[in-house]
Symmetry: C2
Subunit: 200 residues, 2 copies
Amino acid sequence: MLIRTHVGVSLDGFVATPDGLPAWDAMLTFGPGSHGNDEFSAQCAAVVIGRTSFDQGFEVGHWLPDWPYAGKQVYVLTSRPLPAKATEMGIVASRGGPAGLVEQLRGAGLAGDVQVLGGARTIQAFLEVGALDRLGMVVLPVLLGKGIPLFPLEIATFSRETWEASLAAPNEAAARPPLRLEDERVFPDGAVELVYRPES
Amino acid sequence: MLIRTHVGVSLDGFVATPDGLPAWDAMLTFGPGSHGNDEFSAQCAAVVIGRTSFDQGFEVGHWLPDWPYAGKQVYVLTSRPLPAKATEMGIVASRGGPAGLVEQLRGAGLAGDVQVLGGARTIQAFLEVGALDRLGMVVLPVLLGKGIPLFPLEIATFSRETWEASLAAPNEAAARPPLRLEDERVFPDGAVELVYRPES
């Protein structure tokens, strides 16, 4: 059982617009089963969704009655109880944050992999506790300019003053150990799938 | 004559650390000629550098006496005169901003392509005036977490409130037209070169 992502990311690193609409939607070529999504989904027995994304789809959006995760065990990363309707459908709330949810997943005897669907904060949480076995993304050939980035970003601006200051007192190298590229492929529309194995 | 980049970018989109050190340096596998750099350089007759990067290398850093662009015509995107030493070496200052510089390049009768070296703002300026014929990047399998991003980013955070507000008044779709993927290759260390042709 591997914990994996298969997330569409714009070339400038956004998984969603400021409205929370998936970067996938920027591609006219995106549709049911495109970009390896069916193939990926077939390998997964369970789906993990963060609470904000879950509420967006389940309550505010229009997931019901056309529930997109039929046949999957769905877990929600949350610190609050789920709506009764969700519990009746067998959707499971996490216990004890990301690390606790990983325990739940490992103990569930799942007959397949786990898709960490998102949002970005949930993917980041799994990365941070070292629980993401494969960081898979599909780099879409489009620039969004603004939105919700996949990774937490601390943005610096560069100036002569910055450089001169850094000569006097260099920052620590910020890079984490490199990730291992496990797989890559190119789709006809120029989207590129990259699958990494984070070092843990 | 094509105007091109071949810039190392971390997986989270940074071309440099907050200190202005290239993302390339995060890779132990980076060295002279690695990652297609020699091959790329051999195709280029000229190099474009933004003023901040130029000053970093030319004045504060240690480019001289080991001048790394011997045999290339060097252009600096700047609104201020260059140091006399640079002018004596044949380094050319831009006239009239990015669009003016593009005119200079097109009129120079160069026997090869032009590398837009950076920094990020200079690459962005060429993209914005539609003058970048090829956006080439090497995606390095490393997360920097902070630094100078390749693209200008407007970062949004997502919440239930954002989503509800957007249902009432959706944002304009922010995506520009898709870019065309022209080329891609994988290096042994897991770095992935992606070359796009921006639509103009």
